[in-house]
């Protein structure tokens, strides 16, 4: 195996471990921290794929902002540990939903035609990518700002309602 592969496996293993912690930890903050680890390792994987910018964005947005957001959200719920039973009558439904999702992902993975020659990637340069972003994809870019705005407005409205009551 090449060095890159080794690195990939290590990163992937840690990412999966973090994901596992997210699912299984009873302490919600620990679960969130597991998620953060998984997200950070994903950034590493992006870099490994020569997608530097995406990797950095992953660090900046997920490692910084989203992580904090999740942690704050969890701390607002104020419970240190989940003390009530997590399973209930909806268990079969949850199983069904999970299985459906897994099947969908599986189908997607199987159905995708991966490029066969993976030894060599042609990284898109930073400048080319940026130019494309602001020329070809100008409209989606602007729409992104609207999406963000809507998210903000929604959050404010919800929070203010809660505060008033």
């Amino acid at each position: 195996m090449s060095v890159e592969q080794w690195v990939f496996y290590v990163l992937a293993a840690i990412a999966v471990g973090g994901a596992a912690v997210t699912v299984f930890a009873r302490d919600i903050v620990r679960a969130a921290l597991g998620l953060i680890v998984a997200l950070l390792m994903t950034a590493g994987v992006f870099v490994l794929l020569s997608a530097e910018v995406i990797g950095l964005v992953q660090l900046l947005v997920y490692g910084g902002a989203v992580a904090i957001l999740i942690l704050f959200a969890l701390m607002i719920t104020r419970a240190r540990e989940v003390t009530y039973r997590l399973d209930g009558p909806q268990k079969p439904l949850a199983l069904l939903a999970g299985a459906t999702l897994a099947a969908a992902i599986g189908v997607a993975v199987v159905g995708t035609v991966f490029p066969t020659n993976t030894d060599h990637i042609n990284p898109v340069g930073f400048v080319e990518m940026s130019t494309a972003l602001f020329q070809t994809y100008a409209v989606p870019f602007e729409v992104a700002s609207l999406v963000l705005l809507v998210a903000l407005v929604g959050a404010i409205i919800i929070a203010r309602q809660e505060e008033r009551q």
């Binding site: 921290l33 660090l59 490692g63 942690l71 701390m75 930073f126």
Partner: protein, 380 residues
């Protein structure tokens, strides 16, 4: 991109390890010296002498402190969340250490010269916020929790103006490579074109490092150390190490971005030793300023801190970006960069001062306070 031949021994990974090892050593020494220097400088401001006993002129005080910290008992509250508590120092320290990777000290001295260096530093340095939350949550201490949450809120808020200011410089230089940005300043350092950015950079940097006047999360007189309150000995020292390392990195970065780093005023190609002296002098200048501020200012309150960031710093820095773009895209003369930035700086400063004065003179909305008190009184 760096030519492969430039690597020590010609091997990239070995070179990386060696350079990082050097950085680790230098960083430790620098931090030890900085703690000493800070105590000395602040002592002089206060007409004291500072450490004088340990070694000549107290120079070994930092070493003695470090030794003491290693030898201290490592305590952890029994109710603390063990893993979160013990891993927090890692999460706080490692990102700061990682920022060293991209800071060029001279043209050849630095671990790596990333073409996205600025982006990288910003992205990585935002990670240690999580560490503060972990420390605050993991300690199971109310002061720590209060401080940790404050730290996180403050650091995320000031991350934004910090990013926007370095972006102002990046726009002028049209590059994210710190070395390129530095070398574009061979004639005029960017502090001249972007005075607002420089001031905001220092302010936001202070807030990022939780230093006075933004030391709210670790405020000694309120939350007695904040997230670090339960940490002792070596574990605590990593918070300290992180703080002073980031002080150093940020000062070096500020010197590179705004003060012409290792070249100005000697043109584009001073000899290596001169580069080193230049960067050291400029970094020390930044650090001294920060010490001076620390010795002078009271601390803001969390709501004032937040509103200062969101109501003053972010609007003006965004406005600066806009004016920068205007000047650069339409190829107006460079002097307009200074005019706009300076005008924004003066305007923002005056507006803040006037707002504070006016708020001080105007009687407070007494009814609101009374209502709140009444509401509390009824609730209790």
């Amino acid at each position: 991109m760096m030519p492969v031949l430039g690597y020590w021994f010609g091997i990239a990974w070995l070179d990386a390890i060696l350079r990082l090892a050097v950085i680790a050593g230098v960083m430790t020494v620098v931090v030890i010296f900085l703690t000493y220097a800070e105590r000395k400088v602040i002592a002089r401001v206060q007409q004291r002498l500072g450490p004088t006993r340990t070694g000549p002129a107290g120079l070994l005080q930092g070493v003695a402190d470090a030794l003491k910290l290693v030898l201290k008992e490592d305590l952890r509250p029994t109710t603390a969340d063990r893993w979160v508590f013990e891993l927090a120092p890692f999460m706080v320290f490692v990102p700061v250490f990682l920022t060293f990777v991209a800071v060029p000290f001279t043209r050849d001295l630095g671990v790596r010269f990333l073409s996205l260096g600025l982006f990288y530093i910003v992205a990585v340095s935002s990670l240690n916020i999580v560490g503060f939350i972990m420390a605050g949550w993991g300690s199971d201490n109310k002061y720590a929790l209060l401080g940790g949450v404050r730290a996180a809120a403050q650091m995320i808020s000031y991350e934004v103006p910090l990013v926007l200011t370095v972006l102002g410089v990046a726009m002028v230089a049209s590059s994210l490579d710190i070395r390129v940005i530095t070398e574009r300043q061979d004639v005029v350092p960017y502090i001249v074109w972007q005075p607002l950015a420089f001031v905001v950079f220092i302010i936001a940097g202070l807030a990022e490092m939780n230093r006075t006047p933004f030391d709210i999360p670790v405020a000694e007189s309120e939350v007695v150390g904040g997230p670090t309150v339960e940490y002792s000995g070596i574990r605590w020292s990593f918070f300290q190490l992180a703080e002073y390392s980031s002080l150093f990195v940020l000062s070096a970065l500020g010197a590179d971005l705004f003060l012409g780093g290792y070249i100005w005023p000697f043109g584009s190609n001073p000899p290596g030793w001169l580069q080193l002296i230049l960067i050291l002098v400029k970094t020390s200048f930044m650090i001294l300023m920060i010490f001076w501020v620390r010795a002078t200012f009271p601390r803001l309150r969390i709501d004032q801190l937040m509103s200062y960031c969101w109501k003053v710093l972010i609007p003006v820095t965004v406005a600066q970006l806009f004016f920068n773009g205007l000047v650069l895209v339409y190829r107006w003369p460079d002097i307009l960069l200074l005019v706009f930035s300076g005008a924004l700086l003066v305007g923002a400063t005056a507006a803040t001062a006037v707002a504070v004065r006016r708020a001080a003179r105007r009687p407070r909305d007494a009814q609101a306070v009374r209502d709140r008190r009444l509401q509390y009184a009824r609730g209790a």
